[in-house]
């Protein structure tokens, strides 16, 4: 239906949870990242009446207020990944330090900001070893990578999220889960999906440093200012675990996990045609 359904290997994760192989097409639109608006990229061209699969009830309400209908609140694919990989239910034995996610852009929008300032704020707040996880386009950029490497951080990437069904790293999310399990703390310069994922597993979350700017960021999302007004408690270097858990449970839609049979039903994965 929409190529964003397959970002980060989400469709693969959902299929594995539903007991299927590969990444069959999903009948509708699957929210691909934590989002403070209707759950989808700005200006997504929806086909009327097609289902929207969103993470949380708050996204459903906002979407409805913007004219979208036919929502199914199913929780984040992240939660389904956890179901598929029970062996990763606990932290790695040698888990330590912090995994830091500098706010990332994508192929169409680059991030504008000074990575050197990010390094400085990491040094200010972190004590243990630090892993910096870059999105692939920043990881490929030697200059950016060096900034973090020279600061003595381990620099990694989870892979390529895919575009138009091509080059999708189907293990993107799994790699992320494995990495998060190797750390005790998760931080970023913006409240983002990665922070939610980490905090949902009990990592001590932190949000600090220059939030940087996204090229041509659309004003309808309200930007960082809106996030800070909505969740001021999440905007601090050490967010209390309890607050973080309440926030991640709501935003990831923990209450809304669907049965594998319901996923098959919703995504139209009940007919053989779906797998051709």
């Amino acid at each position: 239906m929409h190529h964003a359904n397959h970002f980060y290997g989400h469709a693969h994760v959902m299929a594995a949870y539903a007991g299927l192989r590969g990444s069959p097409r999903i009948w509708g639109y699957l929210q691909h990242g934590w989002n403070i608006l209707d759950g989808f990229a700005y200006n997504t061209a929806f086909v009327a009446g097609m289902p929207k699969f969103v993470w949380s009830d708050s996204v459903r309400r906002r979407g409805w207020s913007m004219g979208l209908r036919n929502h199914s609140v199913i929780g984040a694919p992240w939660l389904y990944l956890l179901q598929v990989h029970p062996e990763l239910a606990t932290p790695a034995k040698d888990a330590q330090g912090t995994i830091f996610y500098p706010f990332h852009g994508w192929e169409g929008q680059h991030v504008l900001g000074d990575h050197g300032r990010i390094v400085a704020s990491i040094n200010e707040h972190e004590q243990g070893p630090v892993t910096v996880c870059l999105y692939w386009n920043e990881y490929e950029n030697q200059a950016i990578r060096q900034v973090y490497e020279q600061a003595g951080f381990r620099v990694i990437t989870h892979g390529y999220r895919g575009l138009h069904w091509r080059k999708t790293d189907k293990d993107f999310l799994l790699k992320q889960l494995k990495e998060i399990r190797r750390h005790r703390r998760v931080a970023s310069n913006r409240l983002s999906s990665a922070v939610l994922y980490g905090a949902s597993l009990g990592l001590q979350p932190g949000v600090y440093g220059d939030p940087m700017l996204l090229q041509d960021e659309h004003p309808s999302f309200g930007g960082q200012a809106r996030i800070k007004r909505m969740w001021p408690e999440m905007d601090q270097p050490y967010v209390p675990l309890e607050l973080a858990r309440e926030f991640t449970d709501t935003e990831l839609g923990v209450e809304n996990l669907a049965h594998p049979a319901e996923i098959r039903e919703m995504f139209h994965w009940t007919t053989k045609r779906a797998f051709l």
Partner: protein, 455 residues
Amino acid sequence: MVGAEMLNWSDLHPGDGRPASGGPATAALLEATLRPTDKVLVAGPHSLHLLDLIASKAATVDVLVRSAPDAEQIARVVSGRVYCGALDRFTGTDLYDVVVALDGLPRLIGPDTPAMAWTDGLALLKARMAPRGRLLLAAENAFGIERLIQPDVTAAVPRNADWPGVVEGALTAPVGLAAIRVALGALAATTTVYSVYPDLVGADLALVTPTGPLTAAAIARSVAARHSGPTLMDPYRLIQDAMAAGLGRELAPVWYFVVGDKAPETLPANVIPSGDGVLLEEQLLAALKLDDQAALRRTVPAYVAWLHSLDAQSAAIASPDNVIADGTSYRLFGSGVVVSGGAVEHLARFVRRAQEAGSRQPWAGDTQTLTARLAAMAGLEVTGELTVALDHLRPQGQAEQLATIARLSQELADANEQATWFESQLDGIRRSRPYRIGHAVLNPARVVVKRLRRL
């Protein structure tokens, strides 16, 4: 014969009117109030069944009816005196321990009585009460719930029973409960008011306090069964919503006034299940209306698990509209429709009822699709055609028809747009270079393969 009797008329066997009053609630009230020493006057058409009951409970029974044929028939059943004629001609002096007028007052007179006010009629009955005598009186609500369910067809096509009387003069009860209480005068002090459903001639339920979700369900069932034909609005949902708004008493089609006596608050007793809880159907409908999908995913699997724990007989009638949910524990409400096919068919029945009641659904789709969705929440897969979904939907009333038309129009428009979009996608693929190259290469290849096979 006391005068002004109706010779060619019967209320027991009406040609073009309503039958005599009866019903389980009426019988229960009489059972609860009559004593073996009572001298009783029954005023107005009451069913032979009720007259039998009264005769068996009281010492003596006298009857006053307007119809001559009825009087003759009743005289064969009742050992007391049977007076035939209009109330205004009923001038004896006998006093009674109990006066029963559970058909109300209007049918105590015929066309020969030009005018008689309700209070005057009441005064005549009151005059027949012995000191410390009791009165069981019914009055119809001029604005009962049925006004919202069906237009008053008698206004357009009056029956013989609806001969036009005189304004304020045909023994019609004052309009509204408050006005009737005022008209009761001194009697009001010792009066208990019952709200009676679904109507005067077939009273299923009489309640002092018509409140609470299980009471609402019992009343809704009764009213829906009575109004099974074309309606303005789904009677079942209308009652549920009116009761939820606390209007069970104001909108009751009939009130019973029990003067100088006491009876159980609910008649018949045990007709409403005891204990807490709400119908599972109400819970599910509320979740669907509010799009509370998490609640649905909690409730549906719990219900299905409970269903599987039941014996076959109970499971067959355990549709959501016949199950009481109290937190996470479930029990049967009462007797229900037998549904074969297990949990999936029960869910299908629920979906169909919800659709026919024009209730909001979070997702587009027909009965089959929505049932499959709910069933999948409990891990059940719908494989075949559902029996409940075979027929076309029949929205309950005109309001629900409008809602259904609006819903289907939207779904049709969406489906059209989807078809256009898919077509444009196909078109894009056909025009794309990879497709054209593939086509150009494969077609000659096919020809080659075919020719090779022929060799």
